[in-house]
Amino acid sequence: MPADLEFDDVAVSYRQAGRADLRAVDGVSLALHEGEVLGLVGESGCGKSTLARAACGLEPLTGGSIRFDGEPVTRLGRGRRPQRLRRIQMVFQNPYASLNPRRRIGSQIEDGRRAVTGNAPPVAELLADVGLEPDVARRYPHEFSGGQRQRIAIARALAAMPRVLIGDEPIASLDASLQARIATLMRDIASRRGVSLLFISHDLSVVRMIADRIAVMRAGRIVELGTAEEVWAHPRDAYTRRLLAAIPIADGLGTLPGG
C-alpha cells in the first residue's frame, strides 16, 4: 500500500529555559497508508500532539523527515501555507477553541473550500456529511454544543479536500456520550471520501473501534505498532499491556482496572 504520510526517524525538541532540551518526539518512524485509519495512543505528554503538529509543518524538526505524497513537509513560516500541503488538515481537541467565535459557521467552512483549487463540495453538502442542517451556516459557533462544534470543525477540514486528516484528540473534550459517536463519524467520512485518518487519542477503547492499525507511543517513541485487533488482544510491549489493563470497563461487574 502506498503511503500518504511518512515519518522517517522524526525528532522534535523543545527548548526549556535553564534546562536541557526536551525531546518530545524522539525518532519516530511511521507510515500512514492511503485510505487507512491509524490510531495513535499514549499518555498525556508523550508527544502525540507534537507529532501531529509536526506533520502539519507547525513544529520544526530536529531530526528525520516527514514526507507527504513523496515530497517533504516544509515548516509553516510567516507566509501562507503552500497549496500542496493544504491537503493535510487537522481537527483539534477543544471544540470551543477551534472555531473563530466572531465569524459565522458558513464563512469559516468557505475558508476551507477556498483553501484549495478544484471543486470542493458546497457548504451544505459538507454540513450534511457531518449530520447538520444546511441552515446552521448562518449561525455563530457559540450557538452550538461541543459535539456540534466538533462536527463543524470536521466539515471545515473536509472542505479543503484533504488527503490526510489528523484528529488530535478530537473527542477528548466531549461528553462521554458523544465520544464514540464523533469517532465513528470521523471514520465513516474518512472512508467515504478516501481520506487517510491519523486519529490521536488516549482512549484505547474508542481507538480500537475505529482504527485499522494502532501505534502506541511512550515518551516520544513508538513502542508498539500493529493492527487494532493485534494490539488489543495480543499486546507485545509491556507498556501497552499496562495501558490496556488500566482501562476501566463498563460491564457492571466492578472490575478494578490494574494500575
Binding site: 510567516r78 493544504r86 481537541q93 483553501a115 450557538e143 473534550s173
Partner: protein
C-alpha cells in the same frame, strides 16, 4: 461561575465541555443595568449633549470679557466670573468641547498605535517582540508626567503637543495588553486551523486574532479615557497644554490657583473633570466585569 472560563483555550481544568446553552457572548446587557454603570452612562451622555449643544446651553460667549471681574457666583453668573470678567459657567460648559474630543483622540491614537505595535510583537515573537517590549519597558521606567513635560516643554505648549506628549507615554500599556492577548490568541486552535487552511499573516491577524482580542482592549480604552482627561488637564494645569483663551478645564483650575480666595474659579472646572473621569471609570469598570475573567486579568495587569 460557569465553566466557560475553563473551557478556554488553555483547557486547563475541564477536559470536557460544558453544555452549550451556558455559553454566552462576553458582553451582557445585564452589566449595563448596574447602578454604577447607569450613573456613568447618564453623566457621559450629559456631557456629550453639553459638548454638542454648548452654544445653545451656555448663557454667554465663553470668551467675552464684558462682566465684572472675579464676581462670586450669582443669579446672573451661576459659577461666577474670572480674572478677565468671563462667565465661568459658559467656559466650563464649552470646556467639554475641548476635553472630550481630545481625550478621545488621545485614547484612540494610543490604542491604535499600541495595539498595532503590541500585535506585531505578540504575533511575530522572538526578536521583534523583545525589542518592542524592551522599548515599552523603558517608557514605563521613565516617569510619565516628566517625559510628557519634557516633550511639551520642548515642543511648546499647545493641546496638540500635549496629546503628542501623552501619546509617547501611553501607547505601551496598550501594546502590553495587546501583546499578551495576541500571544495567547496566536496559539488558539482556530488561528492554527486558519493557518493550515492557507491564511497568511495579515489575514490571520485581521480575521482570526484581532476581532477576538478587541473587546478587552476597548475596555482598557474606556478605563483609560478618564486617565487621558486627567493627564491632559494636568498638563494644561502646568501650563503645558491648552493655550489661552481656550476654556480648558485644567487651565481654568490653574487660573484658580492664582486667585485663591475666588474659589469658584477652580472649583467648577475641577468638578467637571471629576464627573467625566469618574463616569468613564464607572462604565469601564462595569465593562471589565462583563469581560470573561481571563481577558479581564490581562486588562487589570496593565491599567495602572
Amino acid at each position: 461561575m460557569s465553566t466557560d472560563a475553563a473551557a478556554g483555550p488553555g483547557g486547563r481544568r475541564t477536559l470536557r465541555a460544558p453544555a452549550w446553552k451556558r455559553r454566552r457572548r462576553p458582553l451582557l446587557p445585564q452589566q449595563w443595568r448596574r447602578p454604577m454603570a447607569i450613573v456613568g452612562i447618564v453623566v457621559i451622555v450629559f456631557w456629550l449633549v453639553i459638548a454638542v449643544l454648548a452654544p445653545l446651553v451656555a448663557p454667554y460667549d465663553p470668551l467675552a470679557q464684558e462682566f465684572a471681574r472675579l464676581a462670586p457666583p450669582s443669579a446672573a453668573h451661576w459659577f461666577g466670573t474670572d480674572v478677565l470678567g468671563r462667565d465661568v459657567l459658559s467656559r466650563t460648559l464649552y470646556g467639554s468641547r475641548i476635553s472630550l474630543p481630545l481625550s478621545l483622540i488621545l485614547v484612540l491614537a494610543s490604542m491604535v498605535i499600541g495595539s498595532v505595535v503590541g500585535a506585531i510583537a505578540g504575533y511575530f515573537g522572538r526578536v521583534v517582540d523583545e525589542v518592542i517590549m524592551r522599548i515599552a519597558d523603558l517608557v514605563f521606567a521613565f516617569p510619565t508626567i516628566i517625559l510628557a513635560m519634557i516633550v511639551a516643554a520642548s515642543l511648546g505648549p499647545s493641546l496638540l503637543n500635549a496629546v503628542i506628549a501623552l501619546l509617547v507615554v501611553s501607547w505601551p500599556s496598550y501594546a502590553r495588553v495587546m501583546r499578551s492577548l495576541v500571544l495567547s490568541a496566536r496559539g488558539q486552535e482556530y488561528v492554527v486551523a486558519g493557518r493550515l487552511l492557507g491564511a497568511g499573516t495579515v489575514r490571520s491577524l485581521g480575521r482570526d486574532i484581532l476581532p477576538n482580542v478587541a473587546a478587552p482592549v476597548l475596555v482598557l480604552a474606556t478605563l483609560d479615557f478618564g486617565n487621558a482627561i486627567l493627564l491632559l488637564s494636568g498638563l494644561s494645569f502646568l501650563g503645558l497644554g491648552a493655550v489661552p483663551p481656550t476654556p480648558e478645564w485644567g487651565a481654568m483650575v490653574s487660573d484658580g490657583v492664582q486667585q485663591f480666595s475666588s474659589w469658584w474659579l477652580a472649583a467648577f472646572p475641577g468638578l467637571a473633570i471629576f464627573t467625566v473621569v469618574v463616569a468613564f471609570n464607572f462604565v469601564g469598570d462595569a465593562l471589565r466585569d462583563a469581560l470573561d475573567p481571563r481577558t479581564a486579568e490581562a486588562v487589570s495587569e496593565v491599567s495602572v
